[in-house]
């Protein structure tokens, strides 16, 4: 058990709740929040020691210079907390996307994901919960551990398991050879093995990094792409939307979005899911109410992962179109020229001059829809992932374990370059091996010894 380690987890149920609470418990909780939280509008550095226990603070979570979310942070100083340890609770916006980002950020600071039921367990072990609750808690721990085991092994896609097991096996083989030569130097020669090991470890790092990248992709798959449709009034935004809805059996939802915008529709297109955020049209106006709507739209555009920008092909390009176009500079966007069934009056060279790819589209004939789908897939899956055949990671714990393994293997590489002796390289190789074991559900046992004897003829 790692009772002194600092742990974190989402305390609200994963899903699209309007608000999420992330809890951090342990010695490092206050240190971590100081690193990632800026207090107030002025975004001041946050020092927990300056504030009382049981106080709540408004501010922003930052990953370096990047603002992740606007949050409320509560402080509970030990022993006056649920776990009797130092506890921080972060109230962030709903939608699992933001919450996961914050958790991933927290785990970069030597904080690990809590086991299921671990907060309660600590609460009990630290004397917070009275004895009568002990039995119940044991059952909870047990059932949750069983669940965790299932979700780490049973729910793991077969190909992920195979892939991770393959990488582990390769690491194990290398460790077994090194150990064999350490235990039987007269039979197994290690001379200059560093170079060979370097060549063997690098591809494994590559594989793991690919898996790690796939986590982001996997997240898109499981959570959908936050998308805004923009264009000036009457270019066909609504008819495009209706077209998607009709063609794709969309689930019309009222799920609260990650940005307090309303995701109106969740539509599956090909292998992806678009979370469409409702926005007002963009056009020049003096109307106060309309202005607020447009500002809101511009804010949505800033936070969206994809912008679908619609122009009317049958009309000439005007100033307002120009303004719309300026909004998508440097953003993930797809430009659709609607009404391709009508006569083209738009100056296509204007777009070409700006290096803007466009798709001629007709909501009447369906022309351009396939191109649109292809473009979408190219954009989000690039060469990294082929949903049908490649594997991807969707679980935050798995992503964390893979990142840890990558870190350990990189240390191996560093130390090979520093000409550290092989027996020390084993320490980091073993860490990587164990991290990956957390995914496949294998605990350390006698595998290394068994492997040595299976592969190498040892002893006199």
């Amino acid at each position: 058990m790692h009772n002194t380690e600092t742990i974190t987890a989402l305390c609200t149920s994963f899903g699209n709740a309007g608000i999420h609470i992330i809890r951090i418990s342990g010695d490092k909780a206050f240190y971590v929040i100081g690193k990632i939280f800026k207090k107030g509008k002025s975004q001041k550095t946050f020092d927990v020691n300056k504030y009382d226990s049981h106080t709540i603070h408004y501010g922003y979570i930052f990953d370096g210079n990047k603002c992740i979310d606007e949050v409320m942070v509560s402080i509970y100083k030990a022993p006056n907390s649920y776990t009797k340890e130092d506890v921080i609770e972060i109230n962030c916006h709903g939608g699992s996307f933001v919450a996961r980002n914050i958790i991933m950020l927290i785990t970069k600071f030597d904080v690990r994901m809590a086991e299921p039921g671990e907060f309660s367990k600590r609460a009990f072990l630290n004397g917070r919960i009275d004895l009568s609750q002990a039995e119940a808690i044991m059952d909870v721990i047990k059932s949750q551990n069983d669940y965790a085991l299932k979700s780490s092994v049973g729910h793991l896609r077969g190909d992920i398991k195979t892939s991770i097991e393959g990488i582990r096996e390769n690491i194990l083989n290398e460790m077994a050879f090194i150990e064999a030569s350490l235990d039987d130097p007269e039979h197994y020669e290690l001379k200059d093995y560093g170079n060979i090991l370097y060549e063997k470890i690098m591809p494994e790092i590559g594989k793991l990094e690919k898996l790690s990248k796939s986590y982001k992709e996997g997240r898109i798959i499981s959570e959908g792409i936050n998308t805004v449709i923009i264009g000036k009034p009457n270019v066909g935004k609504s008819s495009f939307l209706n077209y998607l809805l009709n063609e794709n059996k969309a689930i019309v939802t009222d799920i609260p979005g990650t940005t307090r915008d309303i995701i109106e529709y969740s539509i599956n297109i090909g292998n992806m899911c678009l979370n469409l955020i409702d926005t007002a049209g963009i056009h020049k106006t003096e109307d106060y109410i309309e202005k607020i709507g447009i500002e809101k739209t511009l804010e949505s555009i800033n936070k969206a992962q994809l912008i679908i920008c619609i122009f009317d092909m049958s009309r000439e390009f005007d100033e307002e179109d120009e303004y719309v176009l300026s909004q998508i500079k440097g953003r993930n966007s797809i430009v659709l020229l609607n009404k391709s069934d009508k006569k083209c009056n738009i100056d296509l060279n204007r777009l070409k001059d700006n290096n803007i790819d466009y798709i001629a589209f007709s909501t009447k004939t369906g022309e351009g829809f396939d191109l649109f789908t292809d473009k979408l897939e190219n954009m989000f899956y690039s060469d990294i992932i082929d949903v049908e055949n490649e594997i991807f990671i969707t679980n935050v714990r798995h992503a964390e374990a893979i990142n840890n393994a990558v870190q350990s293997l990189k240390l191996v590489i560093d130390n090979i370059l520093n000409k550290m002796p092989e027996d020390l390289l084993i320490i980091d190789m073993m860490d990587a091996y164990n991290s990956l074991g957390e995914i496949t559900g294998d605990t350390v046992g006698e595998q290394l010894i068994d492997k040595i004897f299976a592969e190498f003829c040892m002893g006199k």
Binding site: M1, H2, N3, T4, E115, K121, F124, L125, G127, L131, A134, E135, I137, M138, D139, I141, K142, N145, D146, L149, E179, L182, D183, D184, P185, E186, H187, L190, K191, N418, K419, M420, P421, E422, D423, L424, I427, T443, G445, E446, L448, I449, I452, F453, C457, M458, G459, K460
Partner: protein, 626 residues
């Protein structure tokens, strides 16, 4: 009147067997002031080396240094009697440097016998122990084949391979121990009668060949080190200098392998005559050839049995093939074409116990005051035996004194790893120590065994005040030197860079600390001497540790943190009387395992196979609730 008179003696400690475990056990008990008797089937077989003629080797060398650091005898005895010394793995990291010495077998045995004979409170008795006396699960003493009773408060079983020993080669077998020494055929039954589970293991040894019939000119000479390191911390290199004798290297070839394959059906192992489980570390040559069929040749080390004899040990070719096959097989090897076999290779089967019946103190769980050490516990090797011997000897005394037993944990020594592995995980083959079994091996170096264990040996009472003070002084010197080196600042100037260039390492533009330079792969403590004006000459045993502590500081700190985590779990004790069936929420398999092994701490419980992290959580919660 012809009444047989029953003779009775009273001792504090009775040690059954005077091999490497029995010697350490009886010496420890006697030196701690307790009246001790040690039994041997033959007075001439005290500390006998029936197999390989060496002490130490990878990880075994660590054990020897640790036993010495605790106040044991094996290190001192091999320092007296070695004929070649070598530091293995010296080009690798400090954690795996391992000392190995070739012994003069006869001399080794004679010197150990002399030590035993001259130790106060210790009696040697040539006799076969046939029975353990117990009363209400408490040991009371032992009975010998003549019916004599030796009452003892504690009994240590160090029976080696002698319980129902059976030597086998080809279709020839005899119910004896090594070298025709008589087997102990009755004691197993007495153990079974006392509720102890017995199993059967096997091991083997190669033939011995007459030196005069070997052509060494076609073999590679294997010399000892020029700078030798003593095993015992009480010796300086200069104390043990002597002329060294070489070993020789040759190889098996395709013909050898053909001979073995053609006759494999005549091997008692493959024919199923041998029931016992053999060690994976020291497979017989027939096993090697059959299991690693694609290997074109295997190394064979020809090692002298001692200066007193022409017999040479054929390392790497242990066998139980029939005599005629042995002749053909050995003679197919380069340099052995005219070999004359003095003794055949053979396999030996013997009774041993399931070590999971023991506590970490090596006391039997179901019989108070009865201890086991060495091969009877399922281990193999002289060093493994000696390590358990000293611990069992100390703990027999602790038992008599009604004190907490000495338990060396996995972070303190290979001895701890060895005993914890045996007792907690059990073993299905003769267990050999390996460096890969130690999690914290960077901390468990052979060079710092005294740092780790001499304070414990002193507290126990096996380290004299004089030796302890010397040790404290050495530690002081090491710490002072580390402190000093850490403060040394090296200027970036021509003189410095000339030294750095000479050592083929990059030059510096700004000043840096000496310890940073020592950490560079091209440099070490020795090589940086010209950059360190204040340095005074120190002993190698000091500078070696200074260098290791500085050079591998990062890794050492990491391992120390791991040990902290480990210690937390080890310190969570589980009460002896816990009823696992009442804990609730534990899985059935876990209940069974926990109930049979009865771990003493949460840490130990977590290492039992079949006990999951969920079970450990449940246990933690349960214990907290108690």
């Amino acid at each position: 009147m012809n009444n047989k008179q029953i003779i009775e003696y009273n001792y504090d400690v009775a040690v059954v067997g005077a091999g490497h475990a029995g010697c350490e056990a009886s010496l420890a008990a006697a030196r701690l002031g307790y009246k001790t008797v040690v039994f041997t089937v033959s007075i001439d077989s005290i500390a006998m080396m029936p197999c390989n003629p060496n002490i130490g080797g990878t990880s075994k060398g660590h054990l020897v240094r640790e036993i010495d650091a605790l106040g044991g005898e094996i290190g001192i005895n091999i320092d007296k009697t070695f004929i070649q010394s070598k530091m293995l793995n010296s080009s690798k990291g400090p954690a795996v440097h391992s000392l190995r010495a070739q012994a003069d077998k006869k001399n080794y045995s004679a010197e150990m016998r002399k030590t035993l004979e001259n130790t106060d409170n210790l009696h040697i008795r040539q006799a076969e122990v046939t029975k353990i006396l117990t009363e209400d699960n408490i040991v009371k003493g032992v009975v010998t084949s003549s019916g004599t009773i030796y009452y003892a408060k504690a009994v240590i079983l160090c029976t080696g391979v002698y319980l129902k020993a059976k030597c086998i080669y080809g279709d020839v077998s005899s119910n004896t121990g090594p070298n025709g020494l008589s087997a102990a055929n009755s004691l197993s039954q007495s153990l079974i009668d006392n509720g102890i589970e017995i199993r059967r293991f096997k091991t083997g040894t190669p033939a011995r060949i007459d030196k005069r019939t070997i052509d060494f000119s076609v073999m590679q000479e294997q010399k000892g080190d020029e700078d030798i390191t003593p095993f015992s911390f009480t010796n300086k290199p200069s104390d043990i200098e002597r002329e060294q004798i070489s070993c020789w290297l040759t190889y098996t070839n395709e013909t050898t392998h053909e001979i073995i394959k053609e006759n494999i059906d005549r091997s008692p192992l493959f024919a199923g005559i041998i029931e016992g489980t053999g060690p994976r570390y020291c497979p017989s040559i027939e096993d090697k050839v059959m299991r690693f069929a694609d290997k074109e040749r295997h190394q064979i080390f020809i090692e002298p049995e001692g200066e007193y004899t022409n017999e040479m040990y054929i390392g790497g070719m242990s066998t139980s093939l029939p005599e005629d096959v042995q002749y053909n097989m050995y003679r197919s090897i380069k340099g052995l074409e005219n070999a004359h076999i003095v003794r055949n290779g053979y396999a030996i089967e013997y009774d041993c116990i399931n070590p999971q019946q023991l506590k970490l103190s090596l006391e039997f769980k179901n019989i108070s005051g009865l201890f086991g050490a060495g091969q009877i516990n399922g281990s193999s090797g002289y060093e493994e035996a000696a390590a358990q011997g000293i611990v069992a000897g100390i703990n027999a005394v602790k038992y008599i004194e009604n004190k907490e037993p000495l338990i060396i944990d996995r972070s303190e020594g290979y001895i701890g790893v060895l005993i914890d592995d045996l007792v907690t995980k059990g073993t299905n083959e003769p267990y050999r120590m390996m460096t890969s079994r130690a999690e914290y091996r960077l901390l468990l170096r052979q060079d710092n065994a005294d740092y780790r264990l001499t304070p414990i040996g002193h507290e126990v009472g096996l380290i004299s005040e004089e030796r302890y003070n010397k040790f404290l002084k050495k530690m002081e010197t090491i710490n002072a030197e580390i402190e000093r080196v850490r403060k040394v600042y090296v200027e970036a100037n021509e003189e410095t860079n000339a030294v750095l260039k000479y050592c083929n390492t990059t030059t510096i533009n700004t000043g840096t600390s000496l310890s940073e330079l020592i950490k560079r792969p091209e440099l070490n403590y020795q090589k940086t001497a010209p950059l360190d004006k204040e340095r005074v000459a120190l002993e190698r045993e000091v500078t070696e540790q200074v260098e290791n502590m500085i050079k591998y500081e990062g890794y050492i700190d990491r391992q120390k943190r791991q040990v902290e985590q480990y210690k937390k779990l080890e310190s969570k004790r589980i009460p002896d009387n816990i009823d696992y069936f009442k804990v609730g929420s534990l899985r059935k398999e876990a209940i069974q395992k926990l109930d049979s092994i009865r771990p003493s701490s949460i840490g130990q419980a977590s290492r039992i196979s079949g006990v999951s992290p969920a079970d450990i959580s449940v246990l933690l919660v349960y214990l907290k609730g108690k």
